[in-house]
């Protein structure tokens, strides 16, 4: 996913002279081509994310379209006040790209996990949050984000994520993309964990349940139209995300349902628990620690959908 982002940034840099890439001393060799294409528009801002974010605001206030790029927790939580004030309060068009979001870097330990970023950034006025599910969506999301008049957090995985979309879908900020059609249960998945959502859907289909899967890439603003449809039309809505159950997609959908009820559908939320992981391991291992496996999730849905 990050390779697609780097490639697309390079492409956009040659089309749009307003694009500036700020890196927090990350992505060794990743941006070599960008640096060749637009050497004057690449700045390694060092390991100084607060400054980088402020610099991006200054550039945006003078007409540029800056992108800040580093590992998700450092792009977000590390410099959260700069995001709140410099980007959101000023409402400037800056795209924060957080790479290795969620549990992508599980083996690096909780310092590098990013399971609170959506919840924290979601509270800031003017902020838009997009979590593309695959490289295809990431490319489209980047273009949409750079055309958006305000700050955007683009929350991406690492590398090697499978392509979910066989062809480029119609991508609009705030409009979820249907990946599988179905009636009984609707799974809303945000980000790269969609592969798990698809496995869950397959298990449930084998049990005779009709499952719809949505790539719910934009967590803010929510796709209210879709939520209206499924809360009326489905028996059960399940959210899946590589993010804390507090404040993420599941939290946002629960808030929406509380505010817009009554709803026919009940809601189940799957995400990371309210605890740091004490042991390191692969991304699959870390997900399993939080119960994010196809077996666990499909069983819970079966039980609830009864």
């Amino acid at each position: 996913m990050r390779n697609v982002i780097a490639k697309e940034l390079e492409k956009i840099a040659s089309e749009d002279k307003r694009l500036i890439l700020l890196s927090g001393d990350i992505g060794n060799k990743l941006f070599d081509n960008f640096k060749k294409t637009a050497p004057e528009r690449f700045y390694n801002c060092g390991v100084a994310e607060a400054n980088m974010t402020g610099v991006a605001a200054g550039l945006a206030l003078m007409g540029f379209r800056p992108v800040t790029y580093t590992i998700a927790p450092f792009a977000t939580v590390r410099c959260i006040e700069q995001i709140r004030i410099d980007l959101c309060y000023h409402n400037v068009p800056v795209v924060i790209v957080g790479t290795g979001a969620g549990l992508s870097y599980a083996e690096l330990g909780p310092t590098h996990h990013s399971c609170e970023d959506i919840g924290l950034l979601r509270m800031f006025p003017n902020m838009t949050i997009i979590c593309p599910c695959d490289p295809v969506e990431a490319r489209l999301a980047l273009r949409a984000a750079l055309n958006h008049e305000g700050p955007v957090y683009l929350r991406i995985g690492k590398k090697g994520e499978p392509a979910i979309h066989k062809t480029a879908p119609d991508f609009k900020i705030g409009k979820a993309i249907t990946v599988i059609e179905g009636d009984d249960v609707c799974i809303l998945s945000t980000g790269t964990i969609i592969s798990l959502a698809l496995s869950v859907a397959e298990l449930l289909r084998n049990k005779g349940i009709s499952v719809r899967v949505e790539s719910f890439h934009t967590v803010k603003p929510l796709d209210a139209g879709l939520l209206e449809d499924i809360s009326r039309g489905c028996r059960l809505v399940a959210t899946i995300e590589e993010h804390s159950l507090i404040g993420g997609l599941g939290g946002a959908v629960a808030e929406w349902m509380a505010d817009n009820g009554p709803s026919k559908a009940s809601l189940l939320r799957f995400g990371t628990e309210d605890r740091f992981l004490g042991r390191v391991g692969s991304q699959e291992y870390a997900r399993a620690c939080y119960g994010l496996t196809a077996d666990v999730i499909s069983e819970k849905i079966l039980k609830a959908a009864g």
Binding site: G46, G58, M62, G63, E81, Q82
Partner: protein
């Protein structure tokens, strides 16, 4: 304007700040009064900003990073004609744009919203990079407080600007020797301030921040030919201009009563 006339302007600004503080209940008088001469020198003699033509892209930019001195900035902007003085009639009232810190929009001449410290210099770097990319020859001026230099983001920025040879960026430090609750030299190891900035790669000048002539000379040095960003350490007195406020840190938060306003205005030669 000559130095005498500028000093007169500065006294008038001081008077208005003190009056407004009393009327609107706005604090940070000490911090405002210490930077009045710097702001006067900048806005009357140094900055290339036409209040009637703010959309001219290649103009200079000024960021008040020590946002709590907004009451001083607002008076300066009003006197320079960035907006009609009457716009400040509701200062401090419910629904006013004018309060304790510069807001993100609505007040002409306010370049960036500040108030949380340590945000202005990074934004200034972004503006300086942008100006260079556009090919402008303008200056970006950022005013910080000495207490603000506690913030790590100031030093992140202090390292980035010289690495990018931002010779048209100036950081002015209003060195009034106090921060909110004590001496800035004691709360953190601020000394040696000049050596800190020069060791970070800045071209540093020290100046008496209340000597109008010297201030204008130093603030006009941008760019100074060194190829480095410029830091100006302006030695100032917190509460400058009013005997009972000078170097008394109680005036970080205190609001003057009517009789104190009158005494202050007498001392400033305004009545």
């Amino acid at each position: 304007m000559n130095v005498k006339e500028l000093e007169r302007v500065a006294e008038e600004i001081r008077g208005r700040i003190i009056e407004t503080s009393c009327k609107a209940g706005v604090p940070h008088l000490g911090s405002c009064l210490s930077c009045v001469d710097i702001l006067t020198a900048l806005y009357w003699e140094v900055l290339d900003i036409d209040p009637q033509n703010l959309s001219r892209p290649e103009r200079d930019r000024f960021i008040l990073s020590k946002g709590h001195a907004a009451p001083a900035l607002f008076q300066v902007l009003a006197m320079k004609g960035f907006f009609p003085k009457a716009m400040m009639d509701d200062y401090g009232e419910d629904g006013s744009l004018f309060g304790e810190h510069p807001p993100a929009c609505g007040i002409p001449g306010v370049e960036a919203a500040t108030g949380s410290l340590g945000h202005g210099l990074p934004i200034g770097i972004g503006m300086a990079l942008a100006s260079r990319l556009h090919g402008y020859k303008n200056g970006i001026f950022v005013l910080l407080s000495d207490g603000e230099c506690n913030e790590g983001s100031v030093w992140e920025a202090a390292m980035m600007a010289p690495a990018n040879k931002l010779e048209r960026l100036m950081a002015i430090i209003d060195f009034n020797k106090w921060q909110a609750t004590g001496r800035s030299e004691e709360i953190m190891a601020l000394s040696p301030l000049k050596e800190k900035w020069s060791s970070f790669g800045w071209s540093v000048y020290e100046v008496d921040g209340h000597d109008m002539g010297s201030l204008i000379t130093v603030l006009k040095k941008l760019p100074d030919g060194s190829g480095k960003p410029v830091a100006v350490i302006a030695h100032t007195i917190k509460g400058k201009g009013v005997s009972f406020m000078e170097d008394d840190n109680n005036w970080h938060y205190r609001i003057p009563c009517l009789s104190e306003v009158e005494t202050a205005k007498k001392e400033l030669g305004l009545i």
